[in-house]
């Protein structure tokens, strides 16, 4: 026995705390969700960045295209959706970089639970803080571009569902490029083609609604994409992270 063994008023001595063992899968998912949510909320500046980006790019269009209200109104669905896509692209590339740099990623890999669970927690937090907030403030941007008011509820729903798809797709590419020092451009090249269907459905939904038609078919397609993505993307993200770490 070494003489420098610490004395403590606590009973377990130098041994591990005897208590509840490691948690189940759902508790683990919850703990990772909490961890990412708290860590992200302590950086409010980063949450505002995509919104400010959205605002600034949307204000560029009337300057570039001319302020004619009819023209802007006709182009609004496309402009809003393309800018939302770009705003998502700017943030989703950094999704796993911090985890990679501080060593959290290797600890995730060693967890008994599937990497898909942690990936899921991280993407959900990312979506809540970027996609959902964007959908909530989108009526403001819609008004700036003179989108007919009939299109606004559909714009919000389509952005809500569509940004979930965009975040899931972005996370796959982010997982694959996380260990590259300059993965940014490569990531855009990987993501943009995959985002095209989401953009088409989203724009179609908003313009149908703005013209007074029923947009539910397009929204249903977006919803189907989101459901499929929720099931399949975490598996791909987990596999991508595993490949990235194994270097």
């Amino acid at each position: 026995m070494p003489s420098n063994r610490p004395t403590s008023r606590d009973l377990p001595g130098d041994n591990a705390w005897e208590g509840a063992p490691s948690s189940g899968a759902l508790a683990y998912l919850g703990s990772q969700f909490n961890r990412h949510l708290r860590a992200s909320l302590r950086r409010p500046g980063e949450l505002l960045n995509p919104l400010v980006f959205f605002l600034m790019v949307v204000t560029l269009f009337p300057l570039g295209l001319g302020p004619a209200p009819e023209q802007l109104s006709a182009m609004a669905p496309g402009i809003l959706w393309v800018v939302a896509l770009l705003a998502n692209l700017t943030v989703s590339g950094r999704l796993f970089v911090a985890d990679f740099e501080d060593g959290s990623l290797e600890q995730m890999l060693l967890a008994r639970h599937s990497l898909a669970l942690t990936a899921m927690a991280e993407v959900m937090v990312h979506w809540l803080l970027s996609g959902v907030t964007l959908a909530l403030v989108s009526p403001l941007f819609a008004a700036m571009l003179n989108l007919p008011s009939a299109g606004i509820p559909v714009l919000m729903v389509s952005l809500l569902l569509g940004s979930l798809c965009l975040s899931l797709i972005g996370a796959i590419a982010a997982a694959l490029t996380v260990s590259l020092r300059r993965g940014g451009l490569l990531m855009s090249l990987l993501i943009i083609p995959l985002n095209v269907p989401i953009l088409i459905f989203g724009v179609a939904a908003v313009s149908e609604a703005a013209n007074g038609y029923n947009a539910s078919a397009w929204l249903a397609l977006l919803g189907a994409f989101a459901c499929g993505g929720l099931v399949l993307a975490p598996l791909a993200i987990g596999a991508g992270l595993r490949i990235s770490m194994d270097t």
Binding site: P2, N4, D14, W17, A39, A98, Q107, M108, A111, T118
Partner: protein
Amino acid sequence: MPELLLHAQSVCLERGYRCLLKDVNFAVQEGQLWQLVGPNGVGKTSFLRALAGLAKVGVSGTIQRPETVLYQGHLPGLKPLLSPLENLRWHPSGLGTKELDALTWALEKVDLAGCEHLPVNHLSAGQQRRVALARLWLCDAPLWLLDEPFTAIDSAGAALLGARLLAHVEAGGSVVFTSHQPNRFAEQLQAMDLSEYAV
């Protein structure tokens, strides 16, 4: 007969088309404390990562390991904006207990009482290391793989950590760690010199 916790058979390590280690056989029994030694660049960290199951590409041979392994590499695995308590409570490895009493107790053990609620990036490098190592008091994993656990830690902390490693080994666990410091537990420690296997 003590049980075999970790068994690596004829493991070869390659890194970027260069063969680092060849035909390493390494068996760790319950209650054993191993130090991996060897000069810089011999492949201690790579070997430890292979033992933990973190690296698969470029690793051949068979490695049997327990279902749960506690691995602590060079990187702390802590979120800089979360407090030590939050970091341990929601640790990404999902190992160990999450009771607040236990977490506070473990932080007291590593002399961080009073820092529980500060963001980790307000702590010094040594203190951050202590937060990461507080997991040793919380986790029931039988096998610990620690990469340079004594780095950045003062002598009092090193003594604490050494005592904890010995206690784990005496309770039937095993520890494999890398360190350049001369060994501090003469009787129990076994050394594994990786330079014998270097190519």
